[in-house]
Amino acid sequence: MKRYIFSILIVLLFSGLRLSSQDEKAIINSLKKELFRFQEKLSKQQFPPYYISYQVFDVESGGVVNSFGKTLSKNSSKNRYLDIDLRVGDYQLDNTHRSERGGFSVSSYQSVRLPLNLDEVAIRTAVWNATEKAYKEATKQYQNVLSSKALKVREEDTSADFSRENPSVYFEKQNKVNVDLNKWEAILNRVSAKFRENKWLLEGRISFSYENTYKIFVNTEGTEIAQNEPKFRINIFVRTKAEDGMVLYLYKSFFGFTENELPTEDSINKSLEELISKLKKLKDAPLMETYTGPAILKGEASGVFFHEIFGHRVEGHRQKDPRSSQTFKSFLNQKVLPDFINVVFDPTLKEIGGTKLSGFYKFDDEGVPAQRVVSVDRGVFKNFIMSRSPVENFPKSNGHGRKNYGYRAVARQSNLIVESSKSVPFDSLRKMLIEECKRQGTEFGLLFESVEGGFTFTGRTIPNAFNVMPIVVYKVYVDGRPDELVRGVDLIGTPLTTFSNITATGNDLGVFNGVCGAESGGVPVSAVSPSILVSKIEVQKKDKSEEKPPVLPSP
């Protein structure tokens, strides 16, 4: 309610300065004109399209990257991209049907750039050109699908290619941002001067970036959506090498929906100093040896862990792909986690405990309303996250069809939230760890403070086993010695057994905001989890880089 009032205030304040919503409407109308012209004119063809959607990403973006107190790059741009989903055939079998070799056909088209001026004829001509191309491509694909279907044995999963959904209509005016990059350049210059005081650092980068994305979506089913998805970020990255040549790095990121939600210069400063001093400690920390025993994953680390090894495995469309491991397909309505744990995907949540969640959105990239999905209910696996590509037992989307421009939407994660009904204060969780160590007769337990997930840096696909690299790990000694930072830890093991070994959780919450990279491009996500206690975890020594630290001292 508070937020509601606040937003009304903002609208009132700025309504005088703002342009009318004519601009946005002009684009929507141009898109609709072409959409219905194609639907009508192609209806008499042998293979008429049964579904067409246009999605426009109006992206105003920019940022500053700073290295050691010096500006590395600074840019800002405005682009308008168009993606088309044009389908021939019918909902049951269409041109997107997975090809013979398994897997989904990768669409060959790239986003089309639309004119930036609001010129109806120019925009429509570009849309027309792209639709002509998409239609020809779709009919070609559909004919291939028909002929390969005739040759093949019956498929295992007979679910439809495209789900039927109710149309939605929603309109937001386009956010206008006015980011002062020079101001940010000055801030970064000031705070990153700290990097230079630390001669042992091999890389010290800090960046500010924003992406003010306005998404327009229209389809032939009557859905018409215009929504803002603004993102503001600060990322800090530091890297060095230990004496034995092992590469060590740490990062920290901040996220906000507005520029004001980013931290102040003082707190950026503080984070940067903390990061540097932690890396310094890590550089001098002893190497980890092979270990099997209990461990605590702190909230942020646990969130990333769940995102990577649970979340990617419950993305619905993967269950259709014969090449995918389909870990959870046979676990429907069965226990996969201890019964005090729920795993929920909730894109409707904008913040938790005061922290903004970057996996928030109102409608997904197929125009379906965002929905809270309980994937694991009291330990029992209940739901996949779904796009409009149905799988066995899941004929409908639950609002998780997501993509970046230039890609086709598939089921992707939003805000992953690990909920627990067996939570204790963190101090008690620590005591439980020590107790567990004593029971298992180990000298110490491990505390994972942060891990690098496949989604901290974009561009990686689904992890096979663990693709979670711990970067800050402490030994917690049974005999009461202070915790000891160690480096070179590599997690091994299989995901399902690790899940079943969770014995308790803390009452704290860690939030990780990041960009997840997979087959439909980078999408913003977040992972929220309390700290978890795992009775058994296996680690081994990490392969280290052979390259020695620099021969000569810093000039």
Partner: protein, 596 residues
Amino acid sequence: MLKKELSKTMKKIKLMLTILFLFFGIYQTFAITHSEILRAMRDELKRSMDSLYIETLQKPYFIEYTLKISNNYRASAFLGSIVDSSQVKKATLNVKVRVGDYKLDNSNFLDFSLSFFFGGIEEGSSRSIPIDLDYYALRRELWLATDYAYKNAANTYSKKIAVLKNRIIKDTIPDFAFAKPYKYYDTSLVQTNFDFMQVCTMLEELSDIFRNYPNIFNSMVSFEFLQDVVYYVNSEGTEYIKPKLFTGLESAGFLQVADGLPLNNFYSAYSTIPSKLPSKDSLAKAIRILCENLTQMEKASTLEDSYSGPILFTGQAAGELFAQVFAPNLVVQRSVLSDQGNQQFSRYTAFQTKIGGRVLPEFLSLNSLPLASEYEGVPLLGYFKVDDEGVPSQNLKLVDNGYLKTLLSSRTPIKRILISNGNNREGSAMFGNLELVSDKKHTKTYRELKQKLIQLCKQRDLPFGIIVKKIMNQNILSTVFPSLSPIEFKFSSEQNIIPIVEAYKVYSDGREELIRGVELKGISPQSFKDILLVGNKPYVLNILNQVISSSFSFSGWVGVSLIVPDLLFEDAELRPVEADFPKPPYLESPLLLKND
């Protein structure tokens, strides 16, 4: 040559004065001065040469630093609206370290290890560094890049030695050619008063011309201004500062005729700086001509069958043909060693062993003219005083009365050419300005060439001859085409196929008839020996050409200029393009819709 004998100190003083003057004149926008950049490079280079080595490994015998500070502008427009625009400022550092000696070092060796595919997080080459440099920031970057490059070089060197131990190598050509130290400082020519907004407005106006031709359903006008300043220092004492400037305006239009055949036409203008491009009015005129030609082509007929007979290439077509087929063979290509044995180049190797042999008819000669900055008032893109390795460039006679004299070389030697003749461009030997010249007797007017063509056709009982006036530009083909063409654009897998934009049938009465949808087949570098006659008005073709390098490395594009007269070939083959074309558009273009 005499100038070199001038007292060195005199020269230094002169240079210092020039540099000081220019520093204050032009580079006020940079926080760091030229001399500070060079000082940081010299200091870190000296420190590295003196003390950078790991005991068990070889010491570096050669280090070079290349720092490129770029300010690039790009924009494109469609039907009167900008679709894409960007300005990128960046600084890129390349460090090369050689261990071993000139005879045998870590170069000319291909290491197919994992790092070849993935690289590390550390970068010695193409390292992005801050744009607002100061002395210490630059030294820091040089330090890290040199350390990385050294370890990499030492590592490669030991692998190379290991491979050589197991092989009997006949190839005893040195790995690296010695070059005398040379200093060159050119800090002129940087444009500060460039108005990007004005260019964007111009692009919108130019692209709006296509609106009057609704039959052309896809089109684009794009612009590029690349402005680099390059700083170079090596451990032999060579240093230079030089600008690299390139400006281009490209436009292309596409349509499809009823039988599905896609047609296109393009216009391009390339120069050094934006003010040297043709005026807005002449650009507008050129784009209107493009549209008119494309519209005419829609009504033109094509060839029924393949044509085999004499072909006259005029203007742009002669230059483009020469650039695509003949010129790439004029550079030295060194084979590289890998653990699989010697890796030979497969492309453009026609003349590698032909020095002394005849490659053109005896009435033709070919000059390489990197020192020419313009030709009859037209700025030449292949102009440079010093090459990328700091070797002074020189004008050379490559082909003398039909016989090949030498090839263009860099500091990477081959058996026949052991020294650099100053033609390293973007990492490989590459041509800059080439001029094809003929004796008087074989130089004819267009009218005479056409008569000769008709006469040859009569002798061979051909109903018509062919004149080719425009050939697809390779740069546009690889940049603009894939996204704009109505068909999935495939690069021809067949060798020696050249897409033709404008060709004409010429009948015995001299009448010219435009034909569409044809391609040239089977013209090879050897075909140029059969040129019969050339025109009297050489065409200056300024284009972007891909650097000739091994298929294992990324190759950039450089500006080149070809000064080539019309060329009459005795025998060549032209054929209609045959492929399964997609259907023409199902719906009318929105440009044709009156109101809805």
